[in-house]
C-alpha cells in the first residue's frame, strides 16, 4: 500500500522542484498568494467600487488582468519596484513593515514572500510564454470517514493543461459547510467535532473548486431498524446504518395526526377528526389520513400561503388588492387541482396578458427588473443563487458572469404596455432577438440554460418558453432537486442541502442517494406535487418520534428522530383560535377566514401577532425571510398581549362554554387536550388540571370570588397554560 503511494509522491516532488526553478508568472504563482493571504477578500482590497485605500483587486482574484494592472501599473508603479523588490509597496505593506490597516499578511522569508519577491525581481511577468493553464484541482481524500474529534490532513493538487501537476495545499483555501461538525485550518487540516453525520469541506484554488465529503460516524448499534415503507426509508436507513445512529421509535397516533395535519394542512386536527382517527383500528389508517388531508382544500390553502410569499405577493398599495387576491386564488386553485409543477412554473415565468385575464402575470408586477427575474427564478426554481455572478464570478461556484447574462437573456424580450389599472402592465413577448449585454465585456449574449450552450431563438418565439422547456427537461440537474429539497425541508425542518435553495457542487447533500431518488420520483410522477408530499408523509422516517433514544439525541441531520418545529405565525394564530374557540377578523375577508389562508402580506402589518411571530413580508424569494426563532417579544405577547387575552376570555369561547357546561370538569379538561394536543390527558395531567380548576379563588381584596366566575377564570388560566406549553408551540 505504502509503495503505491510513494511513487506519485516522489513524482510530485520532482514536479514541484521543477516548478520552483521555473520563471514565475503573475497568473500562476502570484494571484494564488494574494487570494490565500486574503488581499482580495471582499472585506479588503476587493471591496466593491473603492477597494481599500485606492488599491483595488477583483473579488477572490477572478479577474487577473485587472489585478495585474492594479499592482504593476497603477499608483505610478510604486507597488512593485524590480530594482529593489523587497522595497516594493506590495511587499512592505503585506509584511506590515510600512503601516498596513489590514495588518501583517505575509511573514518575511516565508515561501510566499520569497515567491513574491522573486517574481518582482524577475520583472513582474504576467504569464510565461506557452504557460499551461489551470484545469482542475483534486483533493485527496475526496471522500472519507473520520472519527469524532480526530484530525485529517487534506492534500490539494492542481492539474494544468499540459498535464503537469503541482501540490497547492499551502495555497488553497478550505472551508467546512457546517462548522458545528468540522473545522478546516488554513493549511488544510480538518478537525471533526462531536456531532455525527455528513459534512463537506470546500477547497478553492485559482478559481477552481473541489470538495472533500466526510462522514463522521457515531458507531452505535443499528440492528433494530423499523421496516422500510418506501424508498425514502431505504436511503435514510442505509445512511443511519453507515453512520451508526439508531433511529427513534415510530411515533404514536396522536402525535402523527397532529404532525401530519400541521405539515400538510397547516392546522390542528379537529376534535372529531382526532376521535375518529384514534378509534380506527385499521393498519392503513395513517396512509388514509395523509390521503384525506392532501385531498382537503386546507392543503391548497397552506401551500398557496407558502408559494405566494416566495412569489412576492405583496401589497404595496391599497389598489393591489385585486391583483393579489387573484394571484393567490390562482395559486390555490392550481394546487387544489394538482397542476403539475412544471406546468405551474411555466405559467408563471412565461405568462402573458393582464392580471385579470391571467393572474400569474402578477409576478411580473412585483418583479420588474430582469436581473431580479433571473435571480428569483434561479433561486426559487433551480436552487441556484446567481446574485453574486451579476457583478463577479461566483466565489464558491462555477458560475461566471457570462452565465448570469446568458440566463438573463431569457427575460430580455418581455414587453410591457400600461393598462387602465395603474401600476399593472400588459405583459407580452416583444418580437426580436433575445440577448443581454454582459456588464463587463459589453458583449451581447444569447439565452442559455446553466451549463448549456447558447440557444438561437427565432425573433417570433418567446424565449421564456425555451427556459421553461429547459427547466422541465427530465435531465435538468436543478429543477426537480430544488423542489424536492425544498419540500423535504418543509416536513423535516432541515433540507438535504442547506440552505434549501443553495444547490452547488461545493455544498453537497447529506444524503445524495436520497436526493436523487426523490428527484427521480418527482420527475417520474410528471412533477406531481401531491405525490411528493404523499411519499414523504407516508414514510416511516417522517413518522419517527421526536423523542430521542440513548444514542441519537446528538443527531441533527440524519433524520434519526423528528426535529420539532415551532409553529409558524399563521399556524399558531389559527391553533390558538381553534383551542380557545375564538376567531380573528381580517380586513376584506369573510368571517372565519384563517390566518393560513391570507392572500398577501398586508395582514402581517395589520396583525401584531403575525408580525411578532415572524410572518414574512413577501419581499424575498428566500424562505428564510420567515423568522422562526424565539424572541422576547413573542414570549411577552403570548403571556400578556391584549389579542391573546381576548381570545381566552371571548364570549362563547371555549373557557366560557366549559365553565358553564353541565358535564363534569374532567370532560372539559379532556376536550381541551384533544383540541390542543390531539390526545387524552394523562392521569397526572388530569389530576393537576382538576385540582387547579376546582381551587377556590380570591380577589385583590382577598375576598372569595363567586363560584361561576371563579370557574370561568380557572378555565381561562388553564387554556393560557396549555397554549403556552412547548407541546402546543411546537410541531413535534
Amino acid at each position: 500500500m505504502s509503495r503505491f503511494l510513494l511513487i506519485p509522491c516522489v513524482w510530485l516532488l520532482l514536479c514541484l522542484r521543477l516548478h520552483a526553478e521555473d520563471p514565475l508568472s503573475f497568473v500562476r504563482d502570484i494571484q494564488p498568494i494574494l487570494t490565500k493571504s486574503g488581499c482580495n477578500a471582499g472585506a479588503c482590497h476587493a471591496k466593491a467600487i473603492t477597494g481599500q485605500r485606492g488599491f483595488r483587486l477583483s473579488v477572490l482574484g477572478f479577474e487577473p488582468e485587472e489585478d495585474y494592472e492594479a499592482i504593476v501599473k497603477q499608483c505610478k508603479g510604486r507597488r512593485v519596484f524590480p530594482p529593489a523588490p523587497e522595497e516594493s509597496l506590495i511587499v512592505t505593506k503585506a509584511t506590515a513593515i510600512l503601516p498596513h490597516t489590514g495588518g501583517k499578511k505575509l511573514e518575511p522569508d516565508s515561501e510566499m514572500y520569497q515567491t513574491l519577491v522573486r517574481w518582482i525581481a524577475e520583472g513582474t511577468p504576467y504569464t510565461q510564454p506557452d504557460e499551461p493553464t489551470l484545469v482542475q484541482i483534486v483533493t485527496e481524500p475526496s471522500r472519507i470517514s473520520m472519527k469524532p474529534n480526530s484530525d485529517l490532513q487534506l492534500k490539494v493538487t492542481a492539474r494544468y493543461s499540459d498535464g503537469s501537476l503541482r501540490d497547492v495545499t499551502k495555497l488553497a483555501l478550505f472551508e467546512a459547510n457546517d462548522s458545528a461538525m468540522a473545522s478546516a485550518s488554513e493549511n488544510g487540516l480538518v478537525k471533526s467535532l462531536d456531532l455525527p453525520g455528513n459534512v463537506a469541506v470546500m477547497i478553492r484554488y485559482g478559481g477552481q473548486v473541489s470538495v472533500c465529503s466526510i462522514t463522521i460516524p457515531l458507531g452505535a448499534p443499528t440492528d433494530q431498524m423499523p421496516p422500510e415503507k418506501n424508498f425514502i426509508d431505504q436511503h435514510v436507513f442505509a445512511n443511519l446504518k453507515q453512520i451508526g445512529i439508531p433511529p427513534s421509535t415510530i411515533c404514536d397516533d396522536s402525535t402523527f395526526l397532529r404532525r401530519v395535519s400541521l405539515d400538510i394542512a397547516g392546522r390542528l386536527p379537529t376534535i372529531d377528526e382526532t376521535k375518529a382517527f384514534l378509534a380506527d383500528k385499521s393498519s392503513e389508517k395513517r396512509d388514509r389520513a395523509v390521503e384525506q388531508i392532501l385531498h382537503s382544500p386546507d392543503y391548497a390553502d397552506y401551500f398557496a400561503n407558502k408559494w405566494t410569499a416566495l412569489l412576492k405577493n405583496q401589497r404595496a398599495d391599497a389598489a393591489d388588492i385585486t391583483a393579489n387576491f387573484a394571484f393567490h386564488a390562482w395559486m390555490r386553485d392550481n394546487l387544489l387541482a394538482n397542476t403539475p409543477y412544471d406546468q405551474l412554473v411555466r405559467e408563471i415565468l412565461a405568462s402573458t396578458g393582464t392580471i385579470v385575464s391571467n393572474p400569474p402575470v402578477a409576478w411580473f408586477k412585483r418583479v420588474k427588473e430582469s436581473t431580479t427575474q433571473v435571480e428569483d427564478v434561479a433561486q426559487l426554481f433551480l436552487g441556484v443563487r446567481m446574485q453574486c455572478a451579476q457583478c463577479h464570478h461566483h466565489p464558491f461556484e462555477r458560475w461566471t458572469q457570462a452565465e448570469y447574462y446568458h440566463l438573463a437573456a431569457f427575460f430580455s424580450q418581455i414587453g410591457r404596455k400600461a393598462t387602465t389599472v395603474a401600476g399593472e402592465d400588459l405583459i407580452y413577448h416583444k418580437r426580436g432577438i433575445a440577448q443581454t449585454e454582459h456588464r463587463k465585456t459589453r458583449v451581447m449574449l444569447k439565452p442559455a440554460g446553466l451549463g448549456e450552450p447558447p440557444l438561437d431563438i427565432a425573433p417570433d418565439d418567446d424565449p421564456r418558453l425555451a427556459l421553461a422547456d429547459w427547466m422541465s427537461k427530465k435531465d435538468n440537474p436543478f429543477f426537480a432537486k430544488a423542489l424536492v429539497n425544498r419540500y423535504w425541508k418543509h416536513f423535516f425542518k432541515r433540507g438535504l442541502i442547506e440552505p434549501e435553495d443553495d444547490l452547488r457542487d461545493t455544498n453537497p447533500p447529506t444524503n445524495p442517494e436520497l436526493l436523487d431518488a426523490l428527484a427521480k420520483h418527482f420527475i417520474d410522477s410528471d412533477y406531481d406535487l401531491k405525490s411528493i408530499v404523499r411519499v414523504i408523509a407516508q414514510s416511516h422516517t417522517y413518522q419517527f418520534s421526536a423523542v430521542p433514544n440513548e444514542h441519537n439525541a446528538i443527531d441533527r441531520q440524519a433524520f434519526s428522530h423528528f426535529y420539532p418545529k415551532r409553529l409558524t405565525a399563521e399556524e399558531l394564530l389559527d391553533s390558538i383560535d381553534m383551542t380557545t374557540a375564538s376567531k380573528t377578523d381580517f380586513a376584506d375577508l369573510p368571517p372565519g377566514t384563517r390566518a393560513i389562508s391570507l392572500p398577501d402580506n398586508s395582514y402581517t402589518k395589520a396583525s401584531p401577532f403575525l408580525k411578532v411571530f415572524g410572518r414574512p413580508d413577501n419581499a424575498s424569494v428566500c424562505e428564510c425571510e420567515r423568522v422562526q426563532s424565539a424572541s422576547l417579544a413573542q414570549s411577552l405577547h403570548l403571556m400578556n398581549a391584549a389579542d391573546v387575552k381576548a381570545k381566552l376570555t371571548a364570549n362563547n369561547g371555549r373557557a366560557e362554554r366549559l365553565s358553564k357546561a353541565e358535564a363534569p370538569t374532567v370532560e372539559g379538561i379532556r376536550e381541551v387536550y384533544l383540541a390542543a394536543f390531539s390526545r387524552e390527558p394523562t392521569e397526572e395531567e388530569r389530576r393537576i388540571a382538576e385540582e387547579f380548576i376546582g381551587r377556590p379563588r380570591i380577589d385583590a381584596q382577598d375576598k372569595p370570588i363567586e363560584a361561576a366566575l371563579a370557574k370561568r377564570m380557572a378555565f381561562e388560566d388553564f387554556l393560557w397554560a396549555i397554549v403556552n406549553t412547548k407541546e402546543f408551540l411546537f410541531n413535534h
Partner: protein
C-alpha cells in the same frame, strides 16, 4: 467563536446559524452603552450649534450668538444651557451625507445605505439592531431588561432590523413618561391580582409543560425557555419595573431635565443605561416640536424661527441635563451620548405659505420663513464615552452650506459608534437573506478625535 452556555440560551436559533457563517472578530475594546437622541427631520445647524453671524440676511436667522464655556466656540442664543457645558461635549460640524429625503437620509445615517432614493422599507439593518444582534451573540448577559430600548424608538418608520429579523427590533416605550400614570406595557404588572394570576398561570404551565425534557439538543427550546423566563421576570419582578419608574428619581433631577415629555424621556434613557441597558434611542418628536410634530421646518409646515423659539428651550434643557447627569454620575466613560438628525436644514432661508395654523405656524396662507432638507453639511453632538470633549471637529463654509474641513459621512458616523461598542467594523459582516456577507460599515473610518 466562543459562546458560553448562558449565551446559547439567549441566542435565537437563526442567530446561531448566521454566526457560523460569519467573520466577526471578538472585540477587545471596552464595551459601552449608547444613548442616541434623534431629531427627526433634522436640526437647523446654522441656527444652533454652527452659527454663521457673518452670512447675509438671506441666510442668517434672527438669533444672536453667545459665547460658550469653550473659548472660540460660539452657539446661538437658543442654546444657553448647552453653552455652559460646551466643555462636556464635542461637535462634528462637518457631518454630511448624500440623501435628501427623510427615508433615504435616515436609512443612510442608520445603516449606511448609499441609495439616495426614498424607499418604503430599509434594505439593511440599522446600527441599533446590528449592535443588539451582535451583543446577543456574545451571550452571557444576565440582565432581565431588554438590551435595546426606544424611548420612543428613533424614526420607527425608517428604521428596521431588516434581515436580522424583528427579534432584534427595539423594545419600544411609546407612552409619555411625563404622564403621572405613565405605563410601560408588559413591564411589571402593577395590579396585584393580575400579577398573582400570572404567577398561578406560570405555575400551572410548569407542571403541565413536560415535553422539553424529551428534545432539547439544538438549544432552540432552551432559547425559548430563556425568553419566557425573561418575559416572566419583566412582568413580575419589581426590579424591572424600577428601571422604568421615574418616581424613584428626586424631584430636583426631574425638574432639571424638564417636566415634559422630552425631559422625562431622556431621564428614563439615563435610568435605563444605569440599569444595564446598552442601546437606547430617544426620538424627540411630537407636539413639543410644533404643529407637524417633527423638525421638518419647511415654510409650509412651520415658521422656522418661531419653531425654534418654541422648541429649543425644551431641547436645550433636556439635552444639557442628560450630558451633565452622565458626567456627575460618573457614567461618562461608560455611556456615549449622541445627538443628531438625518440632515441639517437649508442655510438659505425660503418663504412659503403656511398650510395650516398651529404651534409655530401662522394661519393658513401666511407667508413664513422656512428651511428645507440639507444633507451637505450638518452638526452632530457627542458626549461621554471617554472621548475628549470641548472640541469642534470639522467646519462648514461661511454660510453652512458645504463642508470645508474634515468631512465626516454616515459611514464614519456608524464606524465611530461601532468602535465605542467594541465591534470591529472593519471585519464584521452579517449575511443577508441571500447568504451574502454584508459589511456593517461599507467604507467608513471611526472619527479619530471621537475614539481617543
Amino acid at each position: 467563536m466562543q459562546i458560553g452556555l448562558t449565551g446559547m440560551a439567549t441566542l435565537s436559533w437563526p442567530g446561531l446559524l448566521k454566526l457560523r457563517a460569519e467573520n466577526a472578530s471578538s472585540p477587545k475594546s471596552e464595551r459601552k452603552s449608547i444613548i442616541m437622541v434623534w431629531l427627526p427631520g433634522g436640526l437647523s445647524h446654522v441656527d444652533t450649534y454652527d452659527p454663521k453671524p457673518d452670512a447675509s440676511s438671506e441666510y442668517r436667522g434672527p438669533f444672536k450668538t453667545i459665547k460658550t464655556k469653550v473659548s472660540g466656540t460660539i452657539f446661538t442664543e437658543l442654546l444657553p444651557m448647552n453653552a455652559k457645558i460646551a466643555d462636556k461635549f464635542t461637535l462634528v460640524r462637518s457631518m454630511n451625507q448624500t440623501a435628501g429625503g427623510h427615508p433615504a437620509g435616515t436609512m443612510q445615517m442608520f445603516s449606511g445605505d448609499p441609495d439616495t432614493r426614498d424607499k418604503p422599507k430599509p434594505r439593511f439593518p440599522d446600527w441599533m439592531s446590528v449592535a443588539h444582534y451582535l451583543r446577543s451573540k456574545e451571550g452571557g448577559r444576565d440582565n432581565p431588561l431588554p438590551n435595546y430600548i426606544g424611548v420612543p424608538a428613533a424614526s420607527p418608520e425608517y428604521s428596521s432590523a431588516a434581515y436580522l429579523g424583528d427579534a432584534y427590533a427595539p423594545f419600544a416605550v411609546s407612552d409619555d413618561p411625563n404622564r403621572p400614570n405613565f405605563q410601560v406595557p408588559n413591564i411589571g404588572l402593577t395590579d396585584t391580582s393580575e400579577a398573582r394570576r400570572l404567577s398561578d398561570r406560570l405555575a400551572l404551565r410548569r407542571s403541565l409543560d413536560t415535553l422539553e425534557r424529551a428534545f432539547d439538543l439544538e438549544g432552540e427550546l432552551g432559547a425559548l425557555d430563556e425568553f419566557e423566563a425573561q418575559a416572566a421576570t419583566l412582568l413580575t419582578n419589581p426590579k424591572t419595573r424600577d428601571a422604568f419608574d421615574l418616581s424613584k428619581e428626586d424631584a430636583a433631577t426631574r425638574d432639571r431635565y424638564g417636566r415634559n415629555r422630552w425631559g422625562q424621556q431622556l431621564l428614563l434613557a439615563r435610568r435605563l443605561v444605569e440599569a444595564g441597558v446598552e442601546i437606547v434611542t430617544s426620538n424627540l418628536n411630537g407636539p413639543l416640536c410644533g404643529r407637524v410634530q417633527n423638525w421638518d421646518d419647511h415654510a409650509v409646515n412651520h415658521h422656522q424661527f418661531e419653531a425654534l423659539r418654541f422648541r429649543m428651550p425644551t431641547y436645550d434643557r433636556c439635552v444639557s441635563a442628560l450630558i451633565e447627569d452622565i458626567y456627575s454620575r460618573g457614567l461618562d466613560k461608560k455611556v456615549l451620548v449622541i445627538v443628531t438628525g438625518e440632515f441639517g436644514r437649508t442655510p438659505k432661508i425660503s418663504f412659503d405659505r403656511s398650510t395650516g395654523p398651529g404651534d409655530a405656524s401662522g394661519p393658513t396662507g401666511t407667508l413664513q420663513p422656512g428651511r428645507d432638507h440639507w444633507p451637505r453639511a450638518f452638526t452632530s453632538l457627542w458626549a461621554g464615552g471617554g472621548i475628549q470633549t470641548g472640541g469642534v471637529i470639522g467646519a462648514s463654509d461661511k454660510r453652512g452650506e458645504d463642508v470645508v474641513e474634515r468631512p465626516c459621512n454616515a459611514n464614519d458616523f456608524l464606524a465611530t459608534i461601532y468602535h465605542h461598542l467594541g465591534i470591529d467594523y472593519t471585519k464584521t459582516t452579517i449575511n443577508d437573506l441571500n447568504g451574502r456577507p454584508v459589511h456593517i460599515v461599507a467604507n467608513g473610518r471611526a472619527i479619530p478625535e471621537l475614539v481617543s
